[in-house]
Amino acid sequence: ATHLAPPEGLDPPCKARQLYINFRDVGWHNWIIAPRGFMANYCQGHCFFPAATKMSSFNHAVMQSLMHSVAPTATPPPCCVPVKLSPISVLFYDNSDNVVLRHYEDMVVDECGCR
């Protein structure tokens, strides 16, 4: 489930957007015991100068956004990407009827930034 992205041109800055992964939606609810789903989120938005300077971005992204502002056809803007991620753990049945707890790193976007 997600919210419709704002229409182009309204200049939304780069930030995390909500995206909830529901295991029932992908047909895994019979064998995934817990959780029933999780907030994966995703990054979207523009990295224009000076907005790029306000978020947790590398200095290079600030330079690139500045270059893009003065020469948009020569230099693309930086990318809006995850900069802080969290793990999740999933409890499920495997194909040998074992109960398995598995840990997955970097499954949830906590923060986005321009890189």
């Binding site: 029933r36 969290s86 793990p87 194909n95 109960v99 840990h103 790193e105």
Partner: protein, 235 residues
């Protein structure tokens, strides 16, 4: 569209996550309390919710170490609870002074070569009959073997004061779990005899112990390449 497990996208996603869903109807096996407890204490993003199921709510603790199972105190990112594959097999009467001679079989074919074993814990739960001979002490031995055939010396042999509570034995490093390659299965024979000989055990207790015994393995493995690499050194 909804990616079914069989669609290319669904299969690719399952493979990427190292998941192999059970074929056929939904499993009905109850989730062991230990697995619920480990799940509730595992690193979770605050938003992953809908955890449902039994077990008490456990307040989230500060950020635990990645790839470490804190409650068990070992490195690991996969914990599996494996039931005894021979539980339903008919029990042979034990010979001599033995009260119980029970084959145990665990299928470990799920283990991938890239997984490192960090814990293999056998749990023996005798249930209500275990409380019947409260004052009785026991001698318990575990052999590698199949049926009533024992292969070599016991993997472990020790006195057990009572059978009331579940018994735990660490098997990592013993017998087939002692060398680098991981076995595809673990075939064991459990021998139980009353300490100091047969001093008047309740009639039929041994048969009851054999029928009520629930044996399971808790297997913890580590896939190092799935753990976040250490932070890049500052140049």
């Amino acid at each position: 569209p909804q990616p079914s497990p069989l669609s290319p996208q669904g299969s690719a996603l399952l493979q990427a996550l190292g998941l192999r869903p059970p074929p056929g109807p939904p499993p009905t096996r109850p989730v062991p309390p230990v697995m619920w407890r480990l799940f509730r204490r595992a690193p979770q993003a605050a938003e992953s919710h809908g955890a449902g199921g039994e077990g008490p709510e456990v307040p989230q603790e500060p950020e635990p170490l990645p790839c470490h199972v804190k409650e068990l105190g070992v490195p690991g990112n996969i914990v599996r609870h494996v039931l005894d594959g021979g539980a339903a097999a008919p029990l042979e009467p034990a010979l001599g002074s033995l009260c119980l001679e029970k084959p145990l079989f665990f299928n470990l074919s799920f283990l991938e070569p890239r997984e490192q074993l960090t814990l293999v814990r056998l749990e023996l739960n005798f249930g209500a009959p275990g409380a019947l001979a409260a004052g009785q002490g026991w001698e318990l031995s575990l052999f590698q073997g199949h049926g009533s055939q024992l292969w070599g010396r016991p993997l472990l042999s020790r006195p057990v004061p009572a059978l009331r509570e579940p018994l735990h034995f660490e098997l990592l490093g013993l017998g087939p779990l002692g060398n680098a390659s991981v076995p595809q299965n673990l075939s064991l024979v459990l021998e139980l005899s009353p300490a100091g000989g047969d001093s008047g055990l309740p009639r039929g207790l041994c048969a009851e112990l054999g029928q009520s015994l629930e044996a399971s393995l808790l297997v913890v493995t580590l896939e190092p390449q799935l753990c976040r690499p250490p932070l890049r050194k500052r140049r």
